[in-house]
Amino acid sequence: MSLPSSAPTMQACQSCGAGAPLDAHFCPQCTKILPLPRQADYFGFLGVPRKLNLDAADLERRFRSLSRQFHPDYFYNATPVERRASLERSSCLNDAYRTLRQPGARIEYLLKIEGLAPNGSGEAARQVPPALLEEVFALNEELAEIRDLREGGSAAGEWQGRLERARQPIEARRVEHEAQLQELAARWDAAVDRGATDGERRAVLDALRDRFLERNYIANLLAGIERELNS
């Protein structure tokens, strides 16, 4: 029942029984494809450091090269164990590349594997982040007034200008947050590079999580205004 306290560092090859490093894709002994360990992480899987600034072209090259090694097309005549492993590794590769290729998804994934899941679909995402309370309050008041104008039959010209003006401070916040996220990402990468202590890393991650949640909240607000403008 109890979960292992420390993560394993080796895996066993199901074809020949030899031990293999956890992030190896093929058995060093018999060269057969290895089954996917349950605790595979996307960074290790793609062979890149656990950092937030990744070279997109390099990532794509790795994706293509690994696709050519794992794809189920090339395991049609292999044993059921190998075919299963090929399907698992191909799926993991596709999921990993899809996640790490997008900067936002990359941050979210890092937070998750570092144990700070932002819990995207839960209550936390719907609550107004404390730092944004004042602006959100003002925006909602303004939106309510604009809606009244529209429903009262005012010409589009009258309320569209107000809506656009209401949008601007939020948009400015978004730009500010993107910059902060980039700065935090650079700080995280530097912490990884110099082998910073858990405490230091944790501080960066906490800040990263807060900014990330705020940014998502702002993105939703902007999308809402966009809908109002276009309706």
Partner: protein
Amino acid sequence: MNGMSKVVGIDLGTTNSLVAYVKDGVPAVIRDRNGDGLVPSVVSVAADDTIYVGREAQRRLLTDAKRTVYSVKRFMGKGREDVQAETGHFPFRVTGEAGGVLRIGVGDREFTPPEISAFILRELKHRAEAFFAEEGDLDPEVDRAVITVPAYFNDAQRTATRDAGRIAGLEVLRIINEPTAASLAYGLDKRHTGIIAVYDLGGGTFDISILRVEDGVFQVLSTNGDTHLGGDDIDVLLMDIVLAEMSSPSYGGPYVGPRFSGAADGAAGPAPEVIQEVRKAVIQAKWDLSEREETDIVITRSGTAEAVPYETERYERHITRAEFEALIQPIVDRTLAPCRQALADAGLEPSQIDEVVLVGGSTRIPLVGRAVASLFGRTPHSEQNPDEVVALGAAVQADILVTGNREMLLLDVTPLSLGIETMGGVTSKIILRNSTIPATGSEMFTTAVDSQTAVDIHVLQGERELVADNRSLARFKLRGIPPMPAGMPRVQVQFQIDANGILSVTAREQRTDVEQTIEVKPSYGLTDEEVERMLVESFEHAEADFTARLLIEARNEAEAVIQATEKSLRAPDFAEIEKSELAAGERQRIESVAAGLRMVLTSSDRETIQKWTQALNDATQHLAEVMLNRSVNAALAGRNVDSV
């Protein structure tokens, strides 16, 4: 090659199907003796249960329409309620229970769409086997195939296609998407690098796929489409016009019935054979207008059954390309929104597309080519035969699978998002559309009451928020959850979409590490048991089909003997022969045996036909010898004269 069973690529189309194979690295379509590569996707079930497929079945649309099924691909993976609006267009019955797989009624028999498709696949299999046998292959059997489907086919439609393959006795190595297959065939010619858009407008379906090709990896970036849009829809527009005109008083046509597209079941209207005659004529006109500026739609009574319910001897209508284009513009326009969506999903502007490739017979229509050119701002390619390129690509993929040829690799995507039903009838997405496959997604489930041991999961496909607006794929029942207080179990459900784009589901309770058993009820699919049963039935029918084939052969032989006999009896010198060479009563005997054979000819008793054929052969043997001698003597006499 020898000693290994063959593998082929099959394009199972709405209108036509093809089979292709790879020889020495080059794909080729397998043709019949006349060089014809297309097998019309038409199946006819005669009153005596004989199954006709292809050209013969297509001919029977004009004589026995109600027993003839075409465009069955439109019904794959569908329920009866999905196709309600269009069943009036078809001569055959569409039945089945609400909320289940629909059935196609032919006479007193009923078939599921995969069974009808299996008849077509079996015909292709036979064609390929006959071809390999003729090539001198020691083992010409074909039991494995790659089959193509529209990229925008959902899980149920893909599964139905795979089931059809199994029923036909084929191991389906892979289901691949038609536009992607086409890109593989194109990629063979040139070492492409860049971004390709494949625009595929076929008989019944439309797909757009955008691919990045680099280092031999064909990676689909996005795909979109409409599985109910194609040449069939153009035919219906033209048929509506013709049938309305034919029934109008000004045309003098006495047939008055509801307009074709509005014809309700059982309502008085033109006979199905007449409708098929009209369909054939408008398709010809459609083809003509791809080559010429104007043409005539001509329908005559000849060729239809005698019970033609309209008395117009001949219907004729002039149509110009301009009129035709105005008529079909809305259909062509419907393809543009999916193209724009696919571009947006790939994060690309039209100007970033390096090449545009046209696939599917309907892209021969000049208006389609112009619309595509103007959307993408470049002239599309159509060097390869748009009817054959998909089958060629399927053959290439089949070759990759069995030979392990690693020159090329196809990375396709799932066309529709996969989700599950959550509280309040809302869909929660688990795997987003345009994710590269194979792909996985997982979701944690728990229980709502103490000691609950089972959980229901409703899986859907589609982009909409509400469950009701998406396509129900299946209902899964998770069983065997260890009894715990409510909310305690943590059941991780893993959704796996494989390289065929087909879903499988596994589940594990995390606290106890117990694998859950899952019971699947596909919403519009056959269960494994049903497919097995159909496979067995198809073997039984294969026996019946074989018997039917022997019967047809016996009849053909009998007819040939009757004809030869009649020819002899009508010969100018027969009277002289009878007087000088034949015994008394010999002619009467021949005539009575021939009459007897004619009478048994329509029976389905092969042995009786063969007995009477033999009897006629025996009865005419003496006559045949006499006539042969006379002609030999005449020839000799001629030569003697010459040699003197």
